[in-house]
Symmetry: none
Subunit: 186 residues, 2 copies
DNA sequence: TGTCTAATTAGATAGTTGTCGAATTAATGG
DNA sequence: CCATTAATTCGACAACTATCTAATTAGACA
């Protein structure tokens, strides 16, 4: 979603169009004249802005009036300020394996866990996903481990315990580190 | 430079990189491994993010640590909320004055300075251009001034001095701020 | 000095996106 | 229905961007 938003605004013509629309509603013809592009081109840009939820369409007769969607703009710009939100972007990889597709059902838009299923079969890919958020070859304090987990789910105790039980994380003298995937249980 | 900001974020790889960097500082190698791209590619993306002021570079030995620039992010996302700002986008026209055309010869495609001419007559429009990259109504630390200059030219000392000599920038107690254009010398 | 490592820059290529003219759809009114 | 007007969709081409490998730069160290 966020990517679509940025793509929509990452072109001078579209920024200009949005600027005009922000001032008041405009028809396609008007916009084409104002930005010196042909109507099909403008139509194409407007479709992208609309797809991103930035403008809305009101039809009267056969002229189309495009107006600004304030809500989208304020919602998205606000979400940029939330640090967690931003970090969640890192996990935006296209899902491939069936595990990944399964996982998708348990993740929110912003890369947090919605729930933790009861069956072991479903829990394993989730733990793998979580374990991969730890870097290999460094140690973590317990506080850091908790922090890393809590960025994805509030129940740090359960997940810390499970990660260790599945040999994804190891602990010694209060220090933690990630174990190689080859040895993971599950 | 709102367009630059959006362009920088309008690509999945760069969003991912920014997400990783938001969590903590990373080196180019780390990032390349994490997003599964080659180092030159990552380097290229980082340059764009840096150009947009979204990340900063801290060099230690010969590894480069990239970190998040919270300020830029919050400043720009806030400016999206300001309606006026948005409407102003409509007026983004290509430059045409004779100064602007002169300036064009000294700028690279990506908006950096190729050279700094010897004659005062030619130097003035360049300094004006540079000074406009500072915001009015806020103060900058010396580090921030350097960073802003270096985004356009490596010789921060010369330009900092010249900006002050032409009364475009003022300094007091180690803080800098932009002066109104009406008072600029040249 | 020479070597090693990390990063950047250059150059090539493949993929994506912006723009246009032509053809098509949709609404309105004789 | 047919003509008119506004908008969208289609197909082609040009411009731009992402990515790679190879070459270069810069720091550390011995």
């Amino acid at each position: 979603m966020l990517l679509q938003f940025f793509k929509a605004l990452a072109h001078e013509s579209r920024l200009r169009l949005l600027g005009l629309i922000a001032a008041r509603e405009h028809s396609v013809q008007e916009l084409a004249a104002l930005v010196a592009l042909k109507e099909p081109t403008v139509s194409h840009h407007l479709a992208m802005l609309r797809e991103a939820g930035l403008v809305s369409l009101r039809q009267d007769g056969n002229t189309h009036w495009y107006g600004l969607e304030h809500k989208t703009l304020s919602r998205l710009s606000r979400s940029l300020l939330a640090r967690d939100q931003l970090e969640a972007l890192a996990g935006t990889k296209p899902p491939r394996s069936s595990d990944d597709r399964m996982l998708q059902n348990y993740l929110t838009e912003d890369g947090r866990l919605k729930a933790f299923p009861a069956t072991l079969k479903k829990r394993r890919p989730i733990l793998r996903w979580l374990a991969r958020h730890f870097e290999e070859g460094r140690t973590y304090s317990e506080a850091e481990v908790n922090e890393t987990i809590e960025r994805r789910h509030h129940d740090r105790e359960t997940f810390r315990r499970e990660l260790i039980a599945h040999k994804m994380l190891a602990r010694k003298d209060g220090s933690y580190w990630r174990l190689p995937e080859s040895g993971w249980v599950g």
